[in-house]
């Protein structure tokens, strides 16, 4: 497939600009010649129809949620309701400028204020910032809050440690390390859970906090969660909850009730804002009262008497800003729309069906693929191909799945299970689609014995075959 640079012809362009409607001044009169660009950037020269056809062709080389089951574990690839795309594009939202002032922005502020209250309730926590624009951004913000808290109390010099299980998302250690925290990785126990006994020796005044995903990345609910949060609190630390897996418990249980002090949401996971090919997302973080003073500025306030919403910058202990403006507002509109449509009852049905679907698929698959942790899972589960055929890897299975017209699951994550597949169906797939995915995996398991070569050479139906990653790393070609 040629790039857009290889299409077109000198002289073509895809957009006519308006003519200047007054007399043009020579550019040298307006700009010093030494600061003027000498040569135009080598952008493509293509007509509009060529642009449309090129990107339409590219789109057809992708697989999205609308194409079928997309069971990437920990990514919650569920249906993106189209109404969200419409409400977020309402002109007064889409054209609102962050510097237009409070009075002309009452609609934006009201939506942010109401969404804040809703997300606090879902979390079972006291205060929230909508500013972080991704889960990892929320993590960084959460770690900044912890740092600020201990700085204020004069304990920063000793509160150095952030604990996290070895099943944690890579963003967790990366976020904490970026702020100079020492990472202590805890080995999961034989049940795939945080090992309370191994936690104990770390529980002292050097603990700043612990980061947890619950259900964890094996899809298992941390059964000792109350004991764990209690221990961290006794040591004087905070519990950070990675909300990537919130789809498992939304409408059923609240992180705040588990003793969690900070949590981020991934609005693009739990609340159906589209994944966009890798973003934009949104990663609001909710916190307990004691951390509220440090949240980023501005917060959204409401003068109840006047019924006016406003930006609250009068927060002397705030960590400051983490985003140029107020976060990914367009994503907030989508999430708000979705939550209002679902209501309490709908959100409870989300987790109920997400968990049911995962357990159903898990049940059907574990007779053939190995289940390292065979128990009730939440919204996702892990299986492994280890020991099935020593010449084949999980990568081969994933590539072969593509031939069946479905998107493979997450693979090789979490790191603690070798040759792992991490499968998250979500609540927005039908039983028929799940059965097809399972049947495909079962057939592949048979092929592993009967026709291993077909796995090795997969995928067969894609525009390109298996690509050479090593070459891309050794001799990187990163531009045309």
């Amino acid at each position: 497939m040629p790039t857009i640079f290889e299409i077109g012809k000198p002289g073509r362009h895809g957009l006519r600009l308006p003519d200047l409607d007054f007399e043009e001044k020579p550019i040298e009169e307006l700009l010093p010649s030494e600061l003027i660009r000498k040569e135009d950037p080598k952008l493509p020269e293509v007509s509009q129809i060529e642009v449309v056809r090129h990107y339409t062709k590219l789109s057809k080389m992708n697989y999205g949620v609308d194409d079928g089951i997309y069971p990437l574990g920990s990514c919650t690839m569920k249906y993106n309701p189209r109404i969200n795309e419409e409400t977020s594009r309402f002109a007064p939202f889409a054209a609102a400028h962050p510097f237009q002032g409070e009075a002309p922005s009452q609609g934006c502020l009201r939506l942010m204020h109401e969404l804040s209250q809703i997300l606090c309730k879902i979390a079972g926590l006291d205060a929230i910032t909508l500013q972080p624009v991704a889960g990892a951004h929320g993590e960084l913000t959460g770690m900044l809050l912890i740092k600020k808290y201990f700085e204020k109390r004069g304990e920063l010099h000793k509160r150095k440690k952030i604990l996290l299980p070895d099943s944690a998302h890579g963003t967790n250690p990366a976020s904490a390390a970026a702020l100079g925290f020492e990472i202590v990785e805890l080995k999961s126990n034989e049940h795939g859970m945080v090992d309370v006994a191994s936690l104990k020796p770390h529980m002292d005044e050097t603990v700043a906090g612990m980061m947890l995903t619950n259900p964890n990345t094996l899809g298992l609910f941390e059964e000792d969660i109350l004991r764990i949060t209690e221990m961290v609190h006794e040591a004087g630390g905070f519990v950070y909850y990675d909300g990537a897996n919130m789809n498992a418990i939304v409408g059923q249980a609240r992180p705040g009730d588990m003793g969690v002090d900070i949590m981020h949401y991934n609005l693009h996971k739990t609340f159906t804002t589209p994944h966009g090919g890798g973003g934009p997302g949104a990663g609001p973080i909710a916190v307990v009262k004691s951390l509220a003073p440090y949240l980023p500025i501005p917060m959204i306030g409401l003068r109840k008497k006047e019924g006016e919403y406003y930006f609250d910058y009068e927060r002397p202990d705030s960590i400051g800003k983490v985003h140029s403006f107020y976060g990914n507002f367009g994503m907030l509109v989508r999430a708000y729309t979705y939550i209002r449509i679902m209501g309490d009852e709908g959100l409870r049905a989300v987790s109920a069906n997400a968990v049911l679907n995962a357990n159903y698929m898990f049940h059907r698959l574990k007779s053939v693929y190995k289940a390292p942790f065979d128990r009730i899972c939440k919204h996702e589960f892990v299986i492994t191909s280890k020991g099935m055929n020593e010449h084949l890897r999980t990568l081969d299975i994933a590539k072969r799945l593509i031939d069946f017209g479905v998107h493979p699951s997450s693979i090789y994550f979490p790191l603690i299970v070798p040759e792992v597949m991490m499968i998250e169906p979500t609540e927005t797939v039908s039983k028929k689609e799940m059965d097809y995915f399972v049947d495909s995996l079962l057939q592949i398991a048979r092929e592993m014995d009967e026709n291993p070569q077909i796995l090795k050479s997969a995928p067969h139906i894609t525009p390109v075959k298996r690509l050479d990653d090593v070459r891309a790393a050794r001799e990187p070609i990163l531009r045309g």
Binding site: L43, Y70, A95, A178, M258, H268, G277, H323, G330, L467
Partner: protein, 444 residues
């Protein structure tokens, strides 16, 4: 039943029976009773799509109606025209309902446009390598600062006082978090950074962070800056549209280019989602944050694209990663890719010149009026500061009554007093609108 959930009660019974359970509740029996018992609802009932649309429409209407206002607001985000094609193409669901291209063979569409985007940003900025986007202009600048710290192993940064104050707040947060030191480069009467100050503060320097055009819209002359600072990193934040007429940062020695890409076809959307642009020199590529698409071949020697140099990233390197970033702003980057493809090789210059001409027309006309003076006698691009004899806030109020968002009152930023307006002019503004604004402001 809910419209987004296919399972019927019968499906549920069937699946539960196969698993060997009798109720959904049993699936949640691993959650401690104490936690389940504490659960409280939000207190909102479900509603139909039709009702939700009506509700959201009413909330939106509490904002001003942008169709009734002429927009001169800038300060980092600009009211540019976005061609119809952009909005239509990004609504192809194969683009917007997909995720990070973990399975390259199923993601050649995404990986190919990412590669195109990286190429376009390199062309625009004169840099060697661009990533496939960060969150926004402010946090991208903060990431540049963290990268410069890692490259130089030093902690001191000189940051221009005439940098966008919102970006500065983000820098301050990240700098505090990462234990970095920021010293402020003052600006002179011409609105430009004081290079003498930089010369006097070179010791132990990790990097210099400047914006061009700066927050006041003034174009800096940065040609000798890299030679002044030597091995310290030169980090330049620049409006990408300005690079249609202004010398690109790569030509005057920038080590990292950062920018807010909203101007390239992305809606303002109350300040998000935006588009963080980030480019650097090839020698630093392994220290660079963010996703990268790279060109390679498949087993049949056919050209294809993959995520390249992932060993920098958090999902491989964890606490040793170059940055914690995972999700980026892919869909906004796609918008700007299509936008730049439409504008084409000469379109960007023409667009930049339209902005330049119109801003100068307005500035010249306003500066001739009584009570208005151009604050800085320096070259500017599409944005300028005008000093007003009346309070800027009261002028803005009056202009708003006449249907104008006439600019930004600079007082709250603490850089200039309440008699200064920052006015941005894009290609969307017509001569009639510019003339009318002058009339409204001078009669206010």
């Amino acid at each position: 039943m809910f419209e987004y959930i296919p399972n019927t009660p019968e499906d549920q019974r069937e699946m539960l029976a196969q698993i060997g359970l009798s109720s959904i509740e049993e699936l949640f029996s691993d959650i401690p009773r104490r936690v389940l018992d504490k659960f409280e609802k939000i207190g909102i009932a479900p509603m139909s799509e039709q009702e939700a649309k009506h509700l959201l429409h009413n909330i939106a209407r509490e904002n001003l109606n942008p169709e009734e206002f002429v927009n001169f607001l800038g300060g980092g985000l600009y009211d540019h025209y976005s061609p119809s094609v952009v909005g239509h193409l990004i609504q192809r669901s194969e683009f917007f309902t997909t995720y990070t291209p973990y399975q390259a063979e199923l993601s050649q569409g995404t990986l190919t446009w990412m590669f195109e985007f990286q190429t376009m940003i390199c062309e625009l900025t004169g840099m060697d390598v661009a990533n496939s986007s960060l969150y926004d202009g402010g946090s991208a600048l903060a990431e540049a600062m963290l990268m410069a710290k890692n490259v130089t192993d030093k902690k001191k940064f000189l940051v221009a006082r005439n940098l966008n104050p919102n970006y500065r707040q983000v820098l301050d947060t990240y700098a505090w978090g990462a234990g970095l030191e920021i010293q402020e480069i003052p600006f002179g009467e011409d609105g430009r950074i004081d290079k003498q100050f930089i010369r006097q503060n070179l010791a132990d320097l990790a990097g210099v962070i400047v914006q061009n055009p700066n927050f006041f819209g003034v174009i800096e002359d940065l040609r000798e800056l890299k030679s002044i600072i030597g091995n310290a990193m030169l980090i330049v934040s620049a409006n990408p549209i300005s690079l249609g007429v202004l010398a690109p940062p790569g030509t005057y020695g920038a080590d990292i280019y950062v920018g807010e890409g909203q101007a390239l076809g992305v809606p303002i959307s109350f300040g998000g989602p935006l588009l963080g642009l980030f480019a650097t020199r090839m020698s630093y590529v392994r220290k660079m944050p963010g996703r990268l698409a790279g060109r390679t071949i498949d087993i049949n020697n056919k050209t294809g694209y993959v995520m390249a140099l992932q060993t920098r990233e958090q999902h491989i390197r964890r606490d040793k990663a170059t940055s914690n970033i995972c999700t980026n702003q892919a869909l906004c980057a796609l918008m700007s890719t299509i936008y730049m493809a439409l504008l084409g090789r000469h379109g960007l210059r023409q667009l930049a010149e339209l902005n330049l001409q119109k801003a100068h027309y307005l500035a010249t006309k306003l500066a001739r009026a009584k009570g208005f003076t151009l604050k800085f006698r320096s070259p500017f691009f599409n944005e300028f500061v005008i000093e007003t004899s009346k309070k800027a806030s009261s002028l803005l109020k009056k202009a708003q009554k006449e249907g104008f968002l006439a600019g930004i009152d600079l007082e709250p930023f603490g850089l200039l007093d309440g008699h200064h307006l920052l006015i941005a002019v894009t290609e969307k503004r017509t001569k009639a609108e510019l003339d009318r604004l002058v009339k409204v402001l001078t009669q206010a």
